[in-house]
């Protein structure tokens, strides 16, 4: 009886572990650090919005979530076989804390913000990322980022000072945009795309 119970416990633990692993690629940290809008040398916290990643996961979209893991959090996506498939590809990942430019105001409405004036746009210049490329070992492949694009992470500032856990706002979305030909570390048309450059 005791043996059967032990076997049952082991099986349950295995099942629970599998369930945890299935969801771990959507188990984001609650907050992420970014340079402060006022002083880039000082880090502050932003809530990491996870609702949209869950929405995309429901239709099987992984790419934007892999971008979040590898260029905002700076770690490989926690998916099965990822380390094994990519161990040969050397190269540092990027974190939001390493943003080199920050703009404010996106010149379009975002939810309750009629003109996007409370939206920040952090600019990063990642060298490597993970992309959705399923094979027998893993769904994530580490690849070099083309040199003619930059990665922009958008965050909505809290209206009142001090959000949950002291966060300044919420990271809402992120994507690659083409780099400006004259200023290759900044987004194309940055002067008309955003209202002001903070640093």
């Amino acid at each position: 009886m005791a043996v059967a119970q032990k076997a049952g416990c082991r099986m349950a633990a295995k099942v629970l572990n599998v369930v945890r692993q299935l969801g771990s690629w959507l188990d984001f940290p609650a907050t992420v650090q970014a340079p402060s809008p006022e002083d880039r040398a000082v880090l502050c916290d932003f809530v990491l919005g996870s609702a949209d990643a869950a929405t995309m996961a429901r239709i099987g979209r992984r790419q934007l979530t892999f971008e979040m893991w590898s260029m905002i959090l700076g770690v490989e996506p926690p998916v099965i076989g990822c380390a094994r498939r990519n161990w040969k590809t050397q190269g540092e990942l990027t974190r939001l804390a390493e943003a080199h430019a920050l703009f404010k105001g996106i010149e379009r409405p975002l939810a309750d913000d009629d003109d996007g004036s409370d939206v920040l746009a952090y600019v990063l210049n990642p060298k490597f990322m993970y992309e959705n490329s399923p094979d027998m070992v893993s769904v994530a492949l580490k690849v070099a980022v083309p040199q003619d694009v930059v990665f922009v992470v958008y965050a909505r500032l809290n209206k009142a000072s001090g959000g949950p856990n002291g966060a300044r706002g919420t990271v809402t979305h992120w994507h690659f945009v083409e780099a400006d030909p004259a200023f290759p570390t900044l987004p194309v048309d940055f002067s008309s795309r955003y209202r002001t450059r903070l640093w």
Binding site: G23, A54, M56, P109, A111, E178
Partner: protein
């Protein structure tokens, strides 16, 4: 996050438009690959395949406001209806109107997005977050 709604990592992508609440945008892509987002204006962004730079989808931004002000009253939509995105793009074109005449690239971008929405019969469903 409820474990029972989390799909397997191996789940295959089925092209579908989704409303992204945090980004306040509707996005549709044909293939789940790395992309570059090319801003057209405050409403439309084209989504290009990063490798080929060919059109892979589009994003309609500020969608909640646009839906409540322009789409819902016109089409008398309720929560469980679906909206063909070709109608949403046509509504946006009407809204912008004459501005497109002076910007051929912008006009072409709207045409491309409209064609994809039409050809792929792209619809947005589950509009409860929008109606809130």
């Amino acid at each position: 996050m409820n474990q029972h709604i989390i799909p397997k990592i191996s789940a295959k992508y089925v092209p579908a438009a989704v409303y992204l609440d945090d980004a306040d945008s509707v996005e549709y892509v044909r293939r789940d690959v790395a992309c570059v987002y090319r801003r057209v204006d405050g409403i439309l962004t084209l989504v290009l395949d990063m490798e080929t730079r060919k059109l892979n989808g589009f994003r309609l931004k500020g969608f909640k406001n646009f839906f409540l002000k322009h789409l819902q009253p016109k089409y008398k939509l309720v929560d469980d209806d679906f909206v063909p995105l070709v109608s949403a793009i046509e509504e946006a074109i009407q809204l912008i109107g004459d501005q497109l005449m002076n910007h051929p690239e912008r006009k072409a971008a709207y045409r491309e997005a409209r064609r994809m929405a039409h050809d792929d019969r792209v619809c947005i469903e589950h509009m409860e977050p929008l109606a809130a």
